[in-house]
């Protein structure tokens, strides 16, 4: 098992390096650069004279060729110093440290909500397959999942903030302010959670050992829990893993609408301002999170399912 984990860690490093390098050169290829962005913010877009841009380039040594900048940046990364953000003029790590807990809190609440609704619904529609509950739950969750996130967010704001005044419309001030963004994010995930849970449960219910359990005349509850649910557990783990991966990338929209200061809006802001160090910091963190969660899911999966032995890679 250890050999497998070490191998996966090596792969993760490779993926991290590849993704960050691709982003680095991709951002540099795009038109416009950090200096124009800084000047634009400074002068409100009135004049963009070259001499001013030259000074900025020199200050952030942007005038050096790309690969030189890249290597300096890479050396920094090994020392865990992601450099200074052009736009916020502060170490990238501090900003990310400030923003990460917000996204984490939002994301995990959303996953919790989608699991809280998705798992029972999935189990129920598997138990009563092809009957009314099964069809309605599938169509309902599919519909909720098909509504574009930003539209459902807006509708939720109008109903729950403006009309019912239960929650603030944006920002992070009060405790209640996490509810609407989390629900919007969760709506997008409920469809997948229910569907995966249902298919996982259906596969298990069809197995021979379920018939044997019935033949043993054991209690219906323990049959459902210790046999059916226990076998469907690994598929729940994969669902949760997938969802968490989805948050890291997908929360940009929700964070923009609800002015939720998370990694998503920071990433989006960094791209439009060509703030490469900040962008790289976010990308590395998101990729690291995504791959780490995948590894965690596989390890938990192997721990749950005795049949899975990681001898070969």
């Amino acid at each position: 098992m250890l050999k497998y984990i070490v191998k996966r860690l090596l792969v993760m490093l490779l993926v991290l390096w590849a993704v960050s390098t691709m982003t680095y050169f991709m951002v540099h290829v795009t038109p416009g650069d950090a200096a124009t962005a800084i000047v634009f913010n400074l002068t409100g877009g009135t004049n963009m004279d070259e001499e001013l841009i030259e000074r900025i380039n020199k200050r952030f040594d942007l005038d050096k060729p790309v690969y030189v900048q890249y290597f300096n940046w890479l050396l920094g990364v090994f020392r865990m110093d992601f450099g200074i953000s052009y736009r916020y003029n502060m170490p990238v790590m501090d900003m990310i440290k400030a923003r990460l807990p917000n996204t984490a809190r939002l994301g995990l609440t959303a996953v919790f909500l989608s699991a809280l609704i998705g798992i029972p619904l999935g189990v129920l529609s598997a138990l009563r397959q092809n009957r009314l509950l099964d069809h309605t739950s599938r169509v309902a969750t599919l519909f909720i999942g098909s509504v574009p996130g930003f539209l459902s967010g807006l509708v939720l704001i109008i109903i729950f903030s403006l009309k019912l005044k239960w929650f603030p419309t944006s920002g992070m001030k009060t405790a209640g302010s996490i509810v609407l963004p989390a629900v919007t994010l969760a709506l997008g995930m409920v469809a997948t959670t229910t569907r995966m849970m249902r298919t996982g449960m259906l596969d298990v219910l069809r197995q021979d050992f379920m018939v044997v359990a019935k033949a043993k005349g054991i209690r219906r509850s323990s049959m459902l829990v210790s046999h059916a649910f226990r076998n469907a557990l690994p598929s729940i783990v994969t669902v949760i893993g997938l969802q968490i991966g989805h948050i890291l990338g997908g929360s940009v929209l929700v964070e923009t609408i609800f002015a939720w200061p998370g990694l998503g809006s920071l990433l989006n802001d960094a791209v439009s301002n060509r703030d490469t160090p900040m962008l790289e910091g976010c990308v590395i963190l998101i990729t690291f999170g995504y791959t780490a969660i995948n590894l965690l899911v596989d390890v938990v999966y192997a721990w749950l399912d005795p049949r899975v032995k990681y001898t070969e890679g």
Partner: protein, 320 residues
């Protein structure tokens, strides 16, 4: 004395698309105290369905008619809750493919222990011997327990043969009255096959339980059963003691079957069993039977007792 199991005029059909296809056609048989009934028949003749009907494990789209009595008590009208008190305690099943019949996520010991502890009518105090103790004893007796480590092993870590012994121990632990064993030697190696027969013979002697042995392997039936019933296309064609049926078979199908054994020179009977959707009227073996006469195509063959305890459903035997 009431037989352990009596099946009278059992009919089983399945709802497929929009009509019912009948599989079991007026089957009657009985199993006495501590008696092994071998139910022989080829793939698709409905022997497994009969076994499942007794244990009421048929899928939802099944239609069951007729009478199944366990020690005089009718099983079919019982409610699910009521029948559950018998199923798993008094009437137990040993399923066909052992490797997929065990819960992969639970240890083997737990799954056997569950047969007692997880039943609605279980009370911890009433146990003279702690349950874990009994499980170890049973593993011991079935030669499963190399150094007592079997309890915490998972099914995937055991071979097919060992899995089967675990399933058998599930029946033994509740000292069941009737065990329905389904195809114990299907696709099992030669030496292992001998091992399975030994275990089942031991089971019969130690636990004095009645057994319904469903198999297509005539050798196993000969070795274990007291009485044998031969099934073809959903009907019983011949029943009698093992010796009667196997040494001097009366029904043409039984005769052809025995002569098809490799050691008897694998004599070939042409054709194959008709599908249940287009079943011929009257005798269902008419197309393949060498002695087929006009009567076989028109009237339903009645039961004749050619010698005490040896019954045959065939027109030809009316004469002797």
């Amino acid at each position: 004395m009431e037989p352990v199991l009596r099946i009278d005029d059992l009919c089983v059909g399945f709802h497929v698309r929009d009509r019912v296809v009948n599989i079991i056609n007026h089957v009657s048989l009985h199993i006495g105290e501590n008696e092994v009934l071998g139910l022989i028949g080829e793939t698709g003749c409905g022997k497994s369905v009969t076994g499942s009907a007794v244990l009421r494990l048929l899928p939802d789209n099944a239609v069951v008619a007729g009478q199944i009595d366990y020690r005089g008590k009718a099983l079919l009208p019982m409610s699910e809750h009521e029948f559950n008190r018998l199923r798993g305690a008094k009437i137990v099943s040993v399923p066909q493919s052992p490797s997929t019949s065990l819960n992969p996520m639970m240890t083997v010991g737990m799954q056997v222990e569950e047969c007692l502890t997880r039943r609605p009518d279980y009370s911890k105090k009433a146990q003279q011997v702690p349950v874990r103790e009994r499980v170890q004893q049973i593993f011991e007796r079935l030669r499963l327990n190399e150094r007592g480590k079997i309890f915490r092993k998972y099914p995937c870590e055991l071979s097919g043969g060992m899995c089967q012994r675990v399933l058998i121990s599930m029946g033994a632990i509740t000292n069941a009255d009737l065990i329905v064993v389904d195809e114990p030697t299907k696709a099992v190696d030669w030496i292992l096959r001998a091992g399975v027969v030994d275990v089942l013979r031991k089971m019969k002697e130690d636990y004095r339980c009645a057994m319904m042995m469903i198999t297509h392997d005539i050798g196993v039936a000969r070795a274990l059963s007291n009485r044998i019933a031969v099934m073809y296309a959903g009907e019983i064609v011949e029943t009698g003691t093992a010796g009667q049926v196997l040494d001097h078979p009366q029904h043409p199908y039984t005769a052809d079957l025995i002569s098809a054994l490799p050691e008897n020179g694998f004599h070939v009977t042409e054709g194959f069993m008709p599908s249940f959707e287009e079943m011929p009227a009257a005798c269902r073996y008419q197309d393949r039977c060498a002695h087929c006469v006009e009567a076989c195509r028109s009237g339903k063959p009645e039961m004749h007792e050619t010698e005490p305890g040896h019954f045959v459903y065939c027109h030809r035997c009316r004469g002797e």
